[in-house]
Amino acid sequence: MRQRPLPPEVRRQRFLMTVANHSMAIVLAVVFVTPFIFILATAVMTRQQALTGSFWPHPFVWGNFIKVFHFVPFARYAWNTVVYSVLATVGTVVSSIPVAYALSRMSWRGRQVAFLLVLATLALPSQVTIVPLYIIFVRIHWIGTLKPLILPTFFGDAFTIFLLRQFFMTIPEELSEAARVDGASEFQILTRVIVPLAKPAIMAVALFQFLYSWNDFFGPLVFANTHTWTLAVGLAEFSQVIHRSVLWNIQMAASVLFMLPIIILFFMAQRAFMEGVTLTGIKG
């Protein structure tokens, strides 16, 4: 179909608008991406280059990534991080699903109160509980292990419960009722109807928990020790050490190695991430 020619002033105005929008976007993109470029570039520089604020590596010192393993027990920290993240994710998801279900899809007295408590714990600074928990874990000799970090995740996480509940609420009540009339028990409704339908939300909360554990700093800082440090604490402490010798290149290489799995995960599950983040926003 032939397009009616637009009046030139309308066309020009539109063109300018598009240019303006894209310029804004590009400026922002540069702001967001530049740090990555510097970090990546520095990770493959020589020490001297990194120290003198060079912009481009010459030569490329890929060996920095190997060197990281000499300076820090990177492999051990990475393993600790993976153990913590995976177990915490499993624990959180498995324990939070039934709680979210009970809070959203079953009616019982006290439900509202319980939900308010869950919400309140969202605002509870972890510092309030960490001292006594620390003392408990001291008593049972768990300090220096990852157990104090992993065990609590098997008892439900407020944020996860909240998100799942919000999502479960959006699943029409009729579906559970249809299943109930069809002869399903509560457990069957949960596993056969709700969980399959909530897959995207479950994926999202799993990713969140994984990310949270991967990034967690305060927890391992307090509970773990040099053997059981995760990458987050390991690298932060490592940075103090190499600060003395100002090995920016090694430090950036370590940071790159640290963030890489997460970035890869992000690209693999970008949709779930975005949807999950959105989920946190809805219904405030």
Partner: protein, 398 residues
């Protein structure tokens, strides 16, 4: 297959909301019972009480010879069809239909057979492997029906199953439901607030208001002999014209009109008092088109004419206040939120509607002569709002 009975069933939500108030209904084996009433009158609640999704506050529920009042939903062996279909979006059509059987640990092959059988009956065999998202509204409703049928339950409960469909499809599916019922003749309780569905599908109709049963009768009876003002105002579209009239000596007068009393009705009790007179719009006819019969005629100034092609609504004001009782309001508002919207024209004056032959020449602003049939008058007590029964029922006299 079984009869279903509610005995003095009451349901209170929280401490205040009496959703269902001492309702007793007995539904015969194989009967198609329609529950109808304005929004919030407790129709869905009754269905949910029957299904076991909610628990009665008081009263008893019987299915067949069993008292099931305390039985959880999964043990009642009923099937329910929901307004928004409630089919499982993550399952294929076949899985949806077979879900109930699977929960009962039926053999795989049996499930397959039954599902196929039902699908053929509903014309779904082509789409057994599709997910609901790819189905149209009508097809989804069919899946929901299939899911109900497949289990061969003792009864079907349907909660406004057609209200999410568009008008044309609704008419089609309505006919189809009638056919399915004819074929399976399973006890069915059907909730709607669409009168046409109520009138066309039900063996009997239960009209509810505020959780109280108003009338339980055949559709024809409900239409022709409404038990009270509420039923009269609720059933029929356009709604019955109502006016407060003075009963005289063998005649009755309202506004500027004086009309003879119908032969069979004894209104002696109301002589020189008021009674509420109801005339269905379809019982008013353009006297110029229907010249054949010798009926009383009233004249009116036409306000609006709505020409619907096959018939015509002639709307006119009469010089009398509108009948506003709690019952007529309940019937008009339909949604509890719609309180007190003063319509421009209806403030203070009473509007009548006549549904006449499209050949009627009336136009907005012109005058029209309308013939009325006193034999089809309805009378209601202004205090109690209940119908004043004529000796031989109006409408049956043709």
């Amino acid at each position: 297959m079984a009869r279903i009975a509610l005995e003095g069933v009451t349901k209170v939500f929280g401490h205040e909301v009496i959703a269902v108030n001492d309702v007793s209904i007995e539904i015969g084996d194989g009967e198609f019972m329609v529950l109808v009433g304005p929004s919030g009158c407790g129709k869905s609640t009754i269905l949910r009480l029957l299904s076991g999704l909610d628990e009665v506050t008081d009263g008893e529920i019987w299915i067949g010879d069993k008292q099931v009042t305390d039985l959880p939903a999964k043990e009642r062996d009923l099937a329910m069809i929901f307004q928004n279909y409630a089919i499982y979006p993550h399952m294929t059509v076949a899985q949806n239909i077979g879900f109930g059987l699977k929960l009962r640990r039926t053999k795989k092959t049996t499930i397959q057979e039954r599902v196929l059988e039902v699908a053929q009956m509903l014309g779904l065999q082509e789409m057994l492997d599709r997910k609901p998202a790819t189905l149209s509204g009508g097809q989804r409703q069919r899946v929901a029906i299939g899911r109900a049928i497949v289990r061969d339950p003792v009864a079907f409960l349907m909660d406004e199953p057609l209200s999410n469909l568009d008008a044309k499809l609704r008419v089609q599916m309505r006919a189809e439901l009638a056919r399915i019922h004819a074929r399976l003749s399973r006890t069915t309780v059907y909730v709607t607030h669409d009168q046409v569905e109520a009138m066309t599908l039900g063996d009997r109709v239960a009209v509810l208001k505020d959780g109280v049963l108003q009338q339980l009768a055949s559709p024809q009876e409900v239409f022709r002999q409404p038990a009270n003002l509420f039923v009269a105002a609720f059933i029929g579209s356009p709604p019955m014209n109502l006016v407060e009239a003075k009963v005289g000596d063998g005649d009755i007068s309202f506004a500027d009109y004086r009309l003879p009393l119908p032969s069979g009705t004894d209104l002696s009790e109301y002589r020189n008092r008021s009674v509420i007179l109801g005339i269905r719009p379809s019982d008013l006819e353009d006297a110029d088109v229907w010249t054949g019969e010798n009926r009383p005629v009233i004249e009116a100034n036409v306000e609006i004419v709505e020409d619907l092609g096959t018939e015509m609504n002639v709307i006119f004001s009469i010089n009398a206040p509108p009948v506003v009782t709690e019952q007529t309001q309940a019937a008009e508002e339909d949604a509890s939120t719609e309180t007190g919207i003063p319509l421009i024209a209806s403030e203070g004056t009473n509007t009548f509607t006549a549904r006449v032959d499209p050949r009627c020449r009336a136009r907005s602003g012109s005058r029209v002569r309308l013939s009325v049939d006193p034999d089809r008058f309805h009378f209601f007590d202004p205090e109690t709002s209940t119908a004043v029964l004529s000796k031989h029922p109006a409408g049956l006299a043709s």
